[in-house]
Symmetry: C2
Subunit: 501 residues, 2 copies
């Protein structure tokens, strides 16, 4: 059997033969021997030699990260429930053809499963297409639901900025034929509530409408066939200056410079009701049926948002163009304006944290008779929010508890394991969150330290004398005060001392 | 354009030409025309022609199913937290090699992802192997955690019996070097608590130990090389009578009839502390080191279970053999004994609803230096529990609410949409769960019906006179009583009336 020393010796021998310009055949023979030894060595250690990691673009959540994640989910779910949403769930994968033709160019980012016989499957890319499939399959024409689940994109991960290949989406959607802009306004109210409740600092919700974009392209002289590609250029305006976007339109996409310049004038506009009114009077736009419809609805939307008192953080922005194919009306996207917390040394550059819009045609693509179910919804992007909150927690040195244990059952003397187990069993059965060290004879100091480390506020100490007296010593970890509590009152005492204020 | 009638006519023409044995060239031309027409037809309708379904062995969860699912999760999570567990999460897929060599014959059931360039990935098969990978990767030697997530097995689905290809596992595990059987006993206490809290009817937790099994095989004269395959035969005893298992051992697996008969005597034994004591005196078993160790620990386990007061539902059962390769000590499995609910017409045949055991070697398989971290854990199989509870809910005609909405904001007259939106916005901002119909002028009757259907207990009715008087009419849906409440007291009044008892 080869060991590492033997391999090194053989490598040295080969090196010397080469240095001495020995007979090539001899060198070849010794090299072969070296390679065989190396292979043997690899074979021996091979069983431990794989890479110990999670797949690219994914991560584990530690208990501390989970604690933060649950706080965020809690805010979001509370908001969704406040708005009367039901909840559904769908499988992590769909038939491949269910996803086909829904995402335009992004389809290349879909994870496919290996063909192992049977159906061809893909991991879900978002929660919207599975939702539409669910509606069509169950002939549901009317629902308000949320869905929180992981989605999968073979994108370039940028994990420090919260961009993963496996990430959560928190979706809220309203499906059904209703009077215009009422559900749409509620979606924006929800984004406003969640971003306010999460206290992430200042934010802005940009709003536009696919019909206004299309009308604008038409009156600017963009040929019908170029609407989609020009729209995807406009979508880059949040990352590129206008000049670059313009040269992409003219240079790469063959748009006339005049048309590009006309677009340039529009896409720099943003504002509120006043801008909408102005554009409704715009001699060109007001002649376009689609744009006029879109602007009319935008006006209605802003009236409702005024009633909700949230127009201060909403901007009608003609440069907002969102990539996905399936939008048909209002679209929106929320961005964080800055890092509010100064303690963070390197502020994370976070972009969009929520987005959505109206997609009235998607369910019809699944319905055998093409019956349409109008839908509008919003998706909250949690990972970026996690990144910010994680950094903030780290910077603040806030201690996050990862368990809810109320009391540790301990003993001061040896040979009391059985008494500890009897007591903890009583506490568990009474619904008290309790732990015990898995040692026969743990030292009291170690038991107290465990409480300090994990934030357990109380210790119930079993002792021989106390057992005789029918009491348990209850210690407050923070104040170090100890009192004897009658065993039959212990549960009540623990409850009282650990009840949330 | 082809329509179906034209295609049928063309097919008929081709049929006649063939029947008349016409010129082959002419037939070929007409066949080509037919194929083209068919293709056209397919192309027209193709966009709606895929199958509208979820992948084989998976399902969506409707809001009603989600409500049941959340009840079950709530019981389980409450129990895990009561025992001081932290929570973690891992990605839905792992590097393929992480799963390799952990599941024995069952490896063929693993879902692989398509090789799209980059790493080779597989969907997780359980939560235990990812947990072990997580411990080794983060050099954690001491943790008590739970993990609730979906796992994936390309098994034969039997969905009415709760067997799916995508299903939830709820795992609780204790990792660390501790005094024997204390964590193991806690795992069994947890199973006992959860199955009691879920009120699923009578249950039994079978317990055995890999070391007792191996010792038993040795003293019965099973050759070392056949331990595993004979073990998997024993594992079938819950579904097959002993005679069949015996003939599999002797016929297919080549075990001597004498050895099989000796096994047969042991595997029919089950009991409690008395049986353990008897086997500790068994002249053959007591000579086997492994069996003796296993029986000694089993005795200790039963002593702890006695302190927990749960031996009544625990059976030391020598026929329990669980399939997975990685167990090294105690193993257990909980089964429901019968359908307690008589209303269910066709009682679902449910088997195991929880299982687990000790796996002291698994983390070491991932550690570069093979360092071991002893682990013991339990996995609750939710899907079967869901099946039972779903059937029970259906049979009982219990009305399950799928939202938590406290109040519907309604109006009795037309033209009050804006007032409704203003009021609901106030309620949302005060944390009240409220809905409004997305209609400009909904009929009061429709609004009241919506409450009846969805279980909303209160209606806040906006009316012109009330607006002038600064009040809102609050209606109790169940009693139909109406009172005027001052607008500034409305939030308090709704809270009071809908607070949980």
């Amino acid at each position: 059997m080869a060991d590492e020393a033997a391999v090194r010796a053989q490598a040295e021998a080969v090196r010397r033969l080469k240095q001495d310009k020995a007979d090539p055949d001899e060198i070849a023979k010794e090299v072969a021997k070296l390679l065989e030894m190396k292979a043997q060595l690899g074979g021996d250690e091979g069983k431990h030699k794989f890479v110990l990691k999670t797949p690219k673009g994914t991560r584990d959540y530690s208990p501390k990260q989970m604690a933060i994640r649950e706080r965020v989910f809690n805010v979001i779910i509370t908001c969704f429930k406040r708005h009367g949403a039901e909840v559904i769930d769908t499988p992590v994968f769909e038939l491949k053809e269910t996803l086909t033709g829904k995402y335009g160019e992004d389809s290349k980012l879909i994870y496919d499963l290996k063909d192992q016989g049977g159906e061809l499957l893909s991991l879900r890319y978002d929660l919207t297409v599975p939702f539409a499939r669910y509606l069509a399959m169950n002939k549901i024409t009317n629902i308000k639901r949320y869905h929180i689940a992981k989605v999968y994109r073979r994108d370039n991960p940028a994990m420090t900025r919260g961009r993963y290949r496996e990430f959560y989406q928190c979706d809220f959607d309203i499906a059904g034929q209703f009077d215009p802009m009422i559900p749409d306004a509620e979606c924006l109210k929800i984004v406003h509530e969640i971003l306010s409740d999460l206290q992430l600092g200042d934010f802005l919700i940009k709003v536009n409408d696919r019909r206004i974009l299309d009308g604008m392209f038409a009156v600017c002289g963009v040929p019908d066939s170029k609407f989609r590609t020009i729209c995807s250029s406009v979508d880059k305006l949040d990352k590129m200056p206008w000049e670059e976007v313009r040269s992409e339109m003219v240079g790469e996409k063959g748009l006339s410079p005049e048309a590009a310049d006309r677009i340039g004038e529009y896409v720099q506009l943003h504002g509120g009701l006043d801008l909408i009114e102005r554009l409704l009077q715009d001699p060109k736009l007001s002649q376009n049926k689609l744009a006029k419809e879109g602007l009319g609805d935008m006006k209605l939307l802003f009236e409702y948002l005024t009633l909700f008192g949230i127009t201060g953080k909403i901007s009608f922005d003609l440069s907002l163009a969102r990539g996905l194919d399936y939008y048909t009306g209002v679209i929106y996207e929320a961005v964080l304006l800055q890092q509010e917390n100064d303690h963070v040394e390197e502020p994370v550059s976070v972009g969009s944290v929520a987005g959505g819009g109206r997609y009235d045609g998607l369910v019809g693509m699944f319905d055998p008779k093409g019956r349409k179910v109008p839908c509008v919804g919003v998706s909250i992007g949690i990972e970026r929010i996690f990144s910010i909150l994680e950094q903030r927690v780290e910077a603040s040195e806030e201690k996050i508890r990862t368990t809810e244990t109320q009391v540790l059952v301990a003993s001061a003397q040896k040979k009391l394991l059985e008494e500890r187990l009897k007591l903890i069993s009583e506490l568990w059965d009474a619904g008290i969150k309790a732990e015990v060290l898995y040692k026969k004879n743990p030292k009291l100091l170690n038991q107290l330290q465990y409480c300090e480390e994990t934030g357990i506020p109380l210790v119930a100490i079993v002792g021989e004398q106390e057992l005789k007296d029918g009491v348990i010593k209850l210690r407050d970890v923070a104040t170090r005060e100890e009192v004897n509590v009658r065993r039959e009152s212990l549960v009540e005492e623990i409850r009282m001392r650990t009840s949330q204020p």
